[in-house]
Amino acid sequence: MEIRPILATLPRHRIPALLIVLEIALACAVLCNAVFMVAQCVIDGRAPNAIDEQGMSVIHIGGLDSQLAADSVARDLAALRTLPGVKAAAAISDVPLGPDATFNGFTSQPDAEATVNSSVYLVGKGAEQALGLQLLQGRYFTDEEYAQGELLPSHQSASHVVLINRSDAARWWPGQSALGRHIYSDGTAWTVIGVVADVIAQDPHFSGVSGKYSSVFFPQRPSAELGNYILRSDPTARARVLQQAMQTLGKLEPGAVLEGKTFADVRAEYFAGSRNLAWMLVLVCVVMLAVTALGIVGLTSFWVGQRRRQIGIRRAVGASCRQILAYFQTENFLLSTAGVLLGAVLAYAINIYLMRHYEVNRMPWYYLGGGVAALWLLGQLAVLGPALRAASVPPVEATRTV
């Protein structure tokens, strides 16, 4: 396809051509960033978490008398374990993605400064089965360690042992075994007795990227700190198990405030905001692409109408329908190319602005590639209708209205 004649005619309708370029550029810039953010939301919402999420339910218990909490927790758990369908039950201070987050900074050197918000999980006896933790190295806590676990007045665990995430083990002791080593905070030290597959933080939005998979587990005997019961059952039975557990606890603890959820709901609620954002972005993108396509259709139809006579002349001197069609398609392709190039620059600029002012990562190049390809395709589809109409202009048009 000869592009010189196309380039030669473009300056004759500068403004409509510029408008198409501008529209495509803006659409491309917004599309790339929006799709990138949707992808981030989806990846965020699916963040892996090495516990048995599908089989787990959580019951938050609040308002227990702290003096009597130890007895209550022990009694409630005993009752929960007898329920049909319950494979394991345990008490824990807060669950991953839960609302009562406790953060602390730990280091692998006694006097170093902590830079990561680690989620602190105080877990009661049996929590490893109830959570479905995956032990990679070492061992879980012994009954004795559970019985000794309590909180010091400094709000640090009085236990001397700790379970850590694989990510933390790799961060603190890269390439070495973490077992038997120590982590420190405020002058207290704990021995690492086991490493588990990565459990997600309690509030990853707060802890930030660095703390997303920084979770430490301390054994804790029954106490008021253990404000959540976790139940593990078959995924198909979890709703029934949760309902029964709520009834049982309601009778056992008439003075307590109970709130029960499946873990699937905990996750859905935690990511509800970003899920809504993602849907809104998708909606805006679809409408925006439709508007852009309609704009291209409108402008191209306009100049097809304007050039009916020229098209007729070309047809009369021997151009085929196919060549007329190709002419308009190539013209659109050239304009789209200019648009997407400008759009790609704009998209990067927006991305850099967002990175500076919001928690947005650098956009990988393939989002740009995808956006560019999408707009090229959109341009070609939008121009097809007007171009077909141009191609159907009969050669006799050349002789009319001279």
Partner: protein, 431 residues
Amino acid sequence: MLGYYLDLALRSFRRNKVLTALMVLTLALGIGASMTTLTVLRLLSGDPLPHKSAQLFYVQLDPYPKDHPFSRSDKLPWMMSYVDAMNLLHAQRAERQAAMAMTRVKLASTQQRPFFDDGVMTTSDFFSMFEAPFQYGGGWSAADGESRAKVVVIADFLNDQLFGGANSVGRNLRINDQDFRIIGVLRHWAPQPRFYSLYLGGPNYGKGEAVFLPLQSARAAGMGPMSTMSYAGGDKEVLESAPSIWLGLWVQLPDAAAMSAYRSFLAGYARQQVALGRFERSRFGLSDLMQWLDSQQVVPGNVRMQTGLAFSFLLICMVNTVGLLLAKCLRRANEIGVRRALGASRAAIFAQFMAEAGLIGLVGGALGLVFALFGLWCIRQQPAEYASLVHLDGQMFACTFAMALIASLLAGMLPAWRACAVTPAPQLKSA
């Protein structure tokens, strides 16, 4: 003349129904999206106490050690320790002052299972300083606080829920399994954003707290703050003496003189604490309410991002409208030629096309309003804490039309300019 232009515009709309509908729809979508996000943004970044916010100041001190600062970017801690808050409170250097912390309380009634709600632990000036209006009774005195009196002020919605809206002053309310005597019931009072609970662990928006308790009484009854941070290691059992920050301190300073006096008082206090060895840095902060909201970025990043997105969308819609208007007006070169030949000036042609664009803007604005109402309805279905508060008010209603008109006139300018540049002679010849 305008009437004639509008008549011409209507005729041209009738001739090109699809194109006109397309322009109106495009503009309406852009306007609808921008108005929806703008309404949310306005709610979220509004002034919670419009006639008083300039007199209210948030006080910040820095008890953190130099080598373990509160933040790496040198921000001041956003809470205060009990010792400092009480020192400043008892100095009585401002017209009014109150320290506060948020808490979760278990409320019990005879009809239903106990439930949790939010509470404020604060000092006696809270109600007068923040202009919280009373329906029944009143607040407590400084002496009540010091004597740890078990009294409580409750919000209107809790009074409706537990006592059916009747005067409940003098009755008892069970909070965390202890009896508190109700001494006041507030009228509806929920300034948005919830400036005083910001960074104290409470919600940033929403219906507000159910109970207000004297700080010392609540602490004596075993209630704790929602958020605490420690600036040094050590015993954290007793928050009053622990190296922990967990209180917010607000002061009322009526004028600039009072503010500069308080500023120098704070500077003196911070220097004194350095001399005593309690602080290592004599930094302090005194920001008025709106500065404080601004510096703490109360508006969620998501919302600001959505607003940006909506406006880029509006820009795309406008470019699109420019294109369509241009296509439409250039197709009418003949008509323009005839009008010019019959004596219409360039200005008249320009005015005619601007009138046409303006009319599209008004219709687009009306449709955009429908889209905006739908958008706001969608937002109300979301789980965000501000969701139920989002409504379109009269100002935003007017703003919708103004924005639609401005957008369409801006979009109409280029086509109108092209139209008035049409020379009559060639058009008449070719016709």
